[in-house]
């Protein structure tokens, strides 16, 4: 070795001097990327030199783990499969309930003109490395600029938030974890809705700052993102309160246990696109199971259309002075189904019905349904008339709600009367018309 160095001493020194100068240049030069950031060239080189090895190592590790778990170690899989199936059944039931709640929440949000953030695109990425330093808690992902990742994108797992994208390279990105001392995320407490900012500490813990000491914060309370930092959408799980104590300057010292295990990250999701739009209620009202059952059960058949006067006062028709039709007379099915050009011999007259909106008790919907043959598009937009405020509904602010009505299921009245005032007294059959 010494003889080689001695023999090529001049060349070695030349290479050394050139290397030092190139290194010096790389420390000065910043390389701009499409992600809109300037990164020092030496950092790009360092990441480019290290990450291929990490990527290869992770690939081998995953391959060996997959072979073991997917081909050899299958003990208890059948039992686990049974358990999971049972769990799926239970979750389906839960999903039905939650979807109803979500639909209701959307309708309420649309009434209140809420604006929400929706995650419209995510990029799955694998963790291939870390900074290897306690003072800098960053991880490296195997996806970068080519995969559409940009700076300041949120990084999450199924359990909770992880961090944000700090730097983006062509095939690698660097993520600042939420337990880094320089990170900050706007959060709120799940029950008390108190807002604050979480930050990391030098020993890798996460603390919640900005909560006054006179507030009650129980241990175990969930911490969610508040959306105030413009990076994480609102409502993502952050963790739970693990310790509460008195801090400095009248603020509580709250420690958070992150929901995502930041020390064992393998796969993460990068929230590549967020959209902010006003919440829109789903036009089609969900049919309740009870309504479907009610339709299938034998009931009193409809009276023949030859007797149009007999239909007055039933579902889909109204008389002046009559009460709004209640849900028991099949209004949900009538109001929920989208109009289809069935051409099922609905009379060519226009029928006006007045039914209360099934999902919004305070709103009364007046629909004008036309038969399929009269217009090219059988679907008619329903006009709504807000219910006058009374003692019963004065608390709810009503807004017109568009509902599509199926002319086939609506029994029109040949000569439609004007819409009914919903709070008018019930008709007295003996009273003079």
């Amino acid at each position: 070795m010494e003889s080689v160095l001695g023999r090529y001493r001049n060349l070695v020194i030349l290479v050394g001097v050139l290397f030092l100068q190139v290194l010096g240049l790389a420390m000065q030069v910043k390389r701009g990327t499409n992600a809109g950031q300037d990164t020092r060239l030496i950092r790009v080189w360092a990441v480019g030199a290290v990450t291929p090895f990490e990527r290869t190592l992770v690939w081998f590790q995953n391959g060996a783990s997959d072979i073991w778990h997917n081909y050899f170690y299958l003990r208890g899989v059948r039992a686990e499969n049974r358990q999971l199936k049972d769990q799926i059944e239970q979750m389906r039931l839960e999903q039905v309930r939650l979807s109803e709640d979500a639909a209701q929440a959307h309708r309420l949000q649309s009434l209140l003109a809420f604006k929400e953030q929706y995650v419209s695109k995510t990029v799955a990425a694998q963790v291939i490395g870390s900074s290897g330093m306690d003072s800098s808690r960053v991880i490296y992902l195997d996806k970068g600029e080519h995969a559409g990742i940009k700076r300041d994108m949120a990084v999450i797992t199924a359990d909770g938030i992880v961090g944000k994208v700090l730097l983006v390279y062509p095939t690698v990105s660097e993520v600042l974890l939420i337990n880094d001392i320089t990170s900050g995320v706007g959060v709120l407490l799940g029950n008390s809705r108190l807002q604050g900012v979480i930050a990391g500490t030098s020993n890798g813990e996460v603390t919640l700052n900005g909560v006054m000491s006179d507030e009650q914060v129980p241990v175990g309370e969930a911490v969610l993102t508040s959306g105030g930092d413009q990076i994480f959408p609102k409502g993502l799980p952050v963790g739970t309160v693990s310790k509460v104590g008195l801090g400095k300057d009248l603020f509580l010292s709250i420690k958070i246990k992150p929901a995502a295990d930041l020390s064992k990250l393998e796969e993460v999701l990068v929230l590549a696109e967020k959209q902010e739009r006003q919440a829109v209620a789903d036009d089609k009202v969900h049919v309740r199971a009870a309504d479907i059952l009610a339709q299938r059960l034998p009931s009193v058949p409809d009276k023949p259309a030859a007797d149009p006067n007999a239909q007055a006062g039933t579902a889909g028709t109204a008389k002046p002075g009559s009460t709004p039709v209640s849900g028991s007379a099949k209004p949900p099915a009538t109001a929920s189904a989208a109009a289809k050009p069935t051409g099922a011999a609905a009379p060519p007259q226009t029928a006006k019905t007045s039914v209360p909106a099934t999902r919004q008790p305070s709103a009364t919907v007046t629909t004008t349904a036309k038969p399929a043959g009269t217009t090219p598009d059988a679907a008619e937009t329903a006009k709504t008339t807000p219910k006058p405020k009374t003692a019963d509904n004065a608390t709810a602010d009503t807004k017109p709600v568009a509902i599509q009505l199926d002319p086939a299921t609506t029994r029109p009245k040949p000569q439609a009367p004007p819409p009914v005032q919903p709070d008018s007294p019930p008709p007295d059959p003996n009273s003079p018309q």
């Binding site: 001049n10 020194i13 001097v17 100068q21 190139v22 240049l25 790389a26 390389r31």
Partner: protein, 173 residues
């Protein structure tokens, strides 16, 4: 007298006094920065620090001192500009190493050899500068063969005259 291949024992190795070693490169840098104020085209065609680098490297005939001389003069030239420091440094390091290595093997004392060597190293210098500036620093640097050869000739002619003057400061070892 043509360029001749000589053995290491046949070539003369020179040294320079410290004032000359420091003062001549500094003067070259100063003139390179000052003359373009009066003659703006001067900086386009003439690179005095490069000529000084070639002269010292060829006279000392030691690759290590040659590349160090080139590195120091080049880095100093970089510091005068606003570009990242090291572009000229790298280019002149390569030239210093090449010129001193050539000086060990060839007799570069006569004007004809000096003219050709200076022309060649000017092109080498331009090529290295272009490569580093474009590839490493992402600078927009045009490349023109006609300009390179023209400027190389100008430097070579000026170099022959300059080397003749600087020969007066040589000291035999």
């Amino acid at each position: 007298m043509p360029i001749t291949y000589t053995s290491g024992e046949q070539v003369e190795v020179y040294r320079f006094s410290i004032p000359v070693t420091i003062g001549v490169p500094l003067l070259a840098l100063f003139l390179q920065a000052f003359i373009p104020l009066r003659f703006p085209r001067f900086a386009v065609y003439v690179d005095l620090p490069l000529l000084v680098t070639i002269f010292f490297a060829m006279a000392r005939r030691n690759p290590i001192s040659g590349l160090l001389t080139g590195a120091v003069i080049g880095l100093a030239q970089d510091m005068l500009g606003r570009n990242p420091i090291g572009i000229y440094g790298i280019a002149k390091t390569v030239v210093g190493y090449g010129a001193s290595s050539l000086g060990v093997k060839l007799d570069v004392e006569n004007p004809g050899a000096r003219l050709l060597v200076t022309l060649g190293f000017y092109l080498v210098h331009s090529a290295v500068y272009f490569t580093v500036a474009r590839g490493l620093v992402n600078m927009t640097v045009p490349w023109s063969w006609s300009h390179g050869i023209l400027a190389g000739l100008a430097n070579a002619i000026l170099g022959v005259v300059l080397y003749f003057v600087l020969d007066k400061f040589k000291q035999r070892t």
